[in-house]
């Protein structure tokens, strides 16, 4: 049986861990290394580190951040944000990342998916979707939720299904940092389209019982959490305890 994963999401700006609301109004939370180590010790199954400023300067910074925080952490680290070529990915790997997540660049250069798959293999790539509801349709956003690609989630999923990639990580921009609970409408869409690729969901989760509920209901492979962990609404131990009670197969180290 697959073990369901709890994946803290660390959003990085400059050298800081930050958190926003609906991807805006960012505030500094602390030192990413400290938080990463705490989550590792608490029993996180994986970390997702995203640099939210997609610029050359920021990319150099992401390499340094990953190098810094991966030192004593022996669980997988997925890194993303501002990646736009194979060279960036190689550098991230050399910094201590294990996988990469791609979003914005794919809307300008769909070929990059093929390049990454050919070079690194399909298990290596996480495709990230930042979804926002506009006029009754979910659209894919880019540049950390700032810009609408004009492509609906439905249409993008149709395209992605023609590709062979390792994992889909779906985030709700509307519910991000809002404590609104998970975006079930978005999850319905994802669930109706994608059946055979691991799916991670994040955005809006603010109560413990929502986690087991959406894992079961939408057959998720994992859940990604930001605010609720950073601000100590609950911790990973509590999450896993409850998942176990609900007969969800989890990893106990």
């Amino acid at each position: 049986m697959e073990k369901k994963r709890i994946i803290p999401k660390l959003e990085i700006k400059n050298e800081y861990l930050i958190k926003g609301i609906q991807y805006e109004g960012l505030r500094v939370v602390g030192d990413p290394k400290e938080f990463a180590l705490k989550y590792y010790k608490d029993g996180a199954d994986q970390l997702l580190v995203t640099d939210i400023v997609a610029s050359l300067y920021s990319r150099e910074n992401l390499f340094k951040t990953i190098e810094n925080l991966s030192e004593n952490i022996f669980i997988p680290i997925t890194a993303g944000g501002g990646i736009n070529k194979i060279e960036d990915i190689k550098k991230l790997l050399n910094s201590g990342a294990d996988r990469v997540s791609l979003n914005s660049v794919l809307f300008e250069n769909t070929e990059l998916i093929n390049d990454v798959l050919n070079y690194f293999g399909s298990q290596f790539l996480t495709i990230m979707i930042e979804a926002k509801k506009i006029d009754n349709n979910f659209y894919c956003m880019k540049n950390h939720g700032r810009e609408n690609t004009g492509i609906t989630v439905n249409k993008w999923l149709d395209f992605l299904l023609t590709k062979d990639f390792g994992e889909l990580a779906v985030f709700s921009v509307d519910n991000d940092g809002m404590s609104l609970g998970p975006d079930r409408e978005l999850l319905d869409i994802i669930n109706s389209k994608i059946t055979n690729i691991p799916i991670i969901y994040g955005g809006g989760i603010n109560k413990l019982d929502q986690i087991s509920e959406i894992i079961k209901l939408y057959n998720l492979s994992g859940v990604s959490l930001g605010s609720s962990l950073h601000f100590n609404k609950f911790n990973i131990e509590q999450i896993k305890k409850l998942l176990k009670l609900n007969n969800i197969n989890i990893n106990e180290f």
Partner: protein, 202 residues
């Protein structure tokens, strides 16, 4: 522990993670090509990320086959991790017509499963093992392909697939070990299995 550990630099690997991880067991040195000094090394790590083709091309281009065979001939330990495990075999469906290292007789095939989403990505439990310290422990997997040895007795650890079929997780032939999961990413259990191998307990 105070082992001397050589890690092949296949250019497309998480070298920092490997370095941090293996430093727990002794001294780590990366091997870029066959000129690297390996005489006092105890164990060779063939790490794994990337495609079968990319892995074999890097090995051949840098004459690393010589390094690998030197470890084998001297009966020193070799540990292949993920792709590194697959490279030990004859060939892979991932890239046909590319010859593997042929240290273990068998092939690499795409996993087919009715019970798992693929790629196999995440934490899975070992079902049975020669070492009781490892059974029912979870490890981090990230692979689409899996090994099929001709000699099934070499496959000493696995995870369950449908209808009692198995996906090989650990293979052992003399001092050659293959781990389909990533010990360097498997938290405490990853550390444990490397300790067990280095202490000749597997």
């Amino acid at each position: 522990m105070n082992f001397k550990i050589s890690i092949l630099n296949l250019k497309i690997n998480n070298l920092k993670s490997l370095n941090f991880f293996f430093k727990q067991f002794g001294e780590v040195e990366f091997i870029d090509d066959y000129t690297s000094n390996i005489s006092d090394s105890n164990v060779l790590i063939i790490p794994g990320n990337g495609s079968f083709k990319a892995g074999m091309e890097t090995i051949k281009k840098n004459n690393l086959t010589e390094t690998i065979f030197e470890f084998e001939q001297k009966n020193k330990k070799i540990i292949g991790i993920c792709l590194g495990m697959q490279l030990l075999f004859n060939e892979s469906d991932e890239n046909k017509n590319i010859e593997g290292l042929k240290l273990i007789n068998g092939t690499v095939k795409k996993i087919s499963s009715e019970i798992y989403k693929l790629p196999l990505l995440g934490w899975y439990e070992l079902q049975k093992n020669v070492n009781p310290n490892l059974s029912n422990k979870t490890f981090f997997f990230n692979n689409n392909y899996s090994v099929f040895s001709i000699d099934k007795t070499l496959e000493i650890g696995h995870i369950n697939n449908q209808n009692n079929s198995k996906i090989c997780a650990i293979v052992k032939k003399n001092n050659i070990f293959g781990l389909q999961f990533h010990p360097e990413k498997s938290s405490n259990n990853g550390k444990k299995i490397i300790e067990i191998i280095l202490n000749n307990e597997l």
